[in-house]
């Protein structure tokens, strides 16, 4: 307890020496605010290191895997598969800036920025962060159910082949051609006729 009081006293002495109030509005993020400004120096605290602000989505990089949806804490990101398209709706009024989407995104399409002054005044305000975008889906060749987004399919069928050993590359390419565009249910049903079991690799 004594330690705590000493710390408090130090803080009080420190604050009596200089102005502790921070500038508002903060000013230019380009300026190095860690340099002393008022006497011994108040600091510009708007953007500290690792501040988690509003997430920024890059539509170009996103492959549509929906990993971000499955980890999102507050259901900010929602997906729906309608008519061969996967529709993403992102309602940042719900976001809690936890950063899990950034952690999980395999394509680095989401980055948490340091923007945090987001106050908006109504549902049709300019500042309201409601994002909507679509990804084309591959439909199952047999039953027509959605399989995966086109971009994800392209990226990952390549990656899978590349990461496999020399020995199995040809075989797995063949398998992807045979069953890559089938939905999970059809793949399971036709596993025997298409000879998809992994035992042939050993």
């Amino acid at each position: 307890m004594v330690k705590g009081k000493i710390k408090l006293l130090k803080e009080a002495l420190e604050s009596s020496k200089s102005i502790q109030t921070l500038d508002y509005p903060g000013g230019d993020p380009q300026i190095d605010y860690s340099k002393p400004r008022f006497g011994s120096g108040a600091k510009y605290s708007h953007i500290c290191e690792g501040l988690r602000g509003v997430p920024q989505y890059s539509e170009e990089d996103c492959c549509g895997c929906a990993a971000c949806e499955s980890v999102c804490t507050a259901n900010t990101i929602k997906t729906e598969d309608v008519n061969g398209k996967r529709i993403f709706t992102i309602d940042l009024g719900r976001c809690v800036f936890c950063g899990r989407c950034e952690e999980e995104c395999p394509e680095d399409a989401i980055k948490l920025t340091s923007r945090f002054e987001l106050a908006y005044t109504g549902p049709d305000s300019q500042n309201l962060e409601k994002v909507k975008f679509e990804r084309d889906l591959i439909l199952c060749e047999r039953c027509g159910n959605p399989v995966a987004p086109v971009k994800q399919y392209e990226i990952y069928s390549e990656k899978v082949v590349k990461n496999l050993g020399e020995k199995w590359r040809e075989q797995s390419k063949e398998d992807i051609e045979k069953a890559g565009k089938l939905c999970r249910e059809c793949r399971r049903r036709n596993a025997y006729t298409l000879n998809l079991h992994t035992r042939k690799y050993y």
Binding site: Q20, L22, N75, L118, G122
Partner: protein, 147 residues
């Protein structure tokens, strides 16, 4: 701008209504009102009585038990008045609202704008003190335009 409007713009008094949030936003509001961020330089003072306040800061999901009290507090404020919803709880239900199709949590009386008219929304869980000051400034500008 008349004298009254000018006075309202330059010294809005705020009242903090804690409506069943987790208190994270409450602590940030308390932080926003301390000398470090010093909203008194823009005339903002915290007041504990809604009858003297111009702007109400509402935080939390507003539990069902809390709905009539929030309404009554709102009615007690003199006109013109403005309401700022602080945090994702107050805006949409945030982490306490599982999903739209599954319905809200059984204790939830709805986001604030279903109960009283809201003028400014400040997203974040909790929002930074500066973001709260930003919201209050926007509300003061809205307030000064009202009769």
């Amino acid at each position: 701008m008349g004298l009254k409007q000018k006075a309202r713009l330059y010294s809005p008094w705020v009242f903090h209504a804690h409506c069943s949030g987790c208190n994270g936003c409450g602590i940030e509001i308390a932080a926003a009102l301390n000398p470090r961020y010093d909203p008194e330089r823009i005339g903002v003072t915290l007041h504990n009585n809604p009858r003297h306040a111009d702007i109400m800061l509402v935080e939390g999901i507003v539990a069902k038990q809390h709905v009539p009290f929030l309404k009554r507090t709102y009615d007690q404020m003199p006109t013109p008045k403005a309401v700022v919803a602080i945090g994702s709880c107050a805006i949409t239900g945030g982490v306490f609202k599982p999903d739209d199709d599954k319905g809200p949590s059984y204790t939830q009386g709805g986001p604030v704008d279903r109960i009283i008219p809201v003028d400014v929304y400040v997203p974040g869980c909790p929002p930074k003190p500066e973001a709260i000051i930003d919201g209050v400034i926007k509300a003061a500008i809205i307030l000064s335009k009202r009769e």
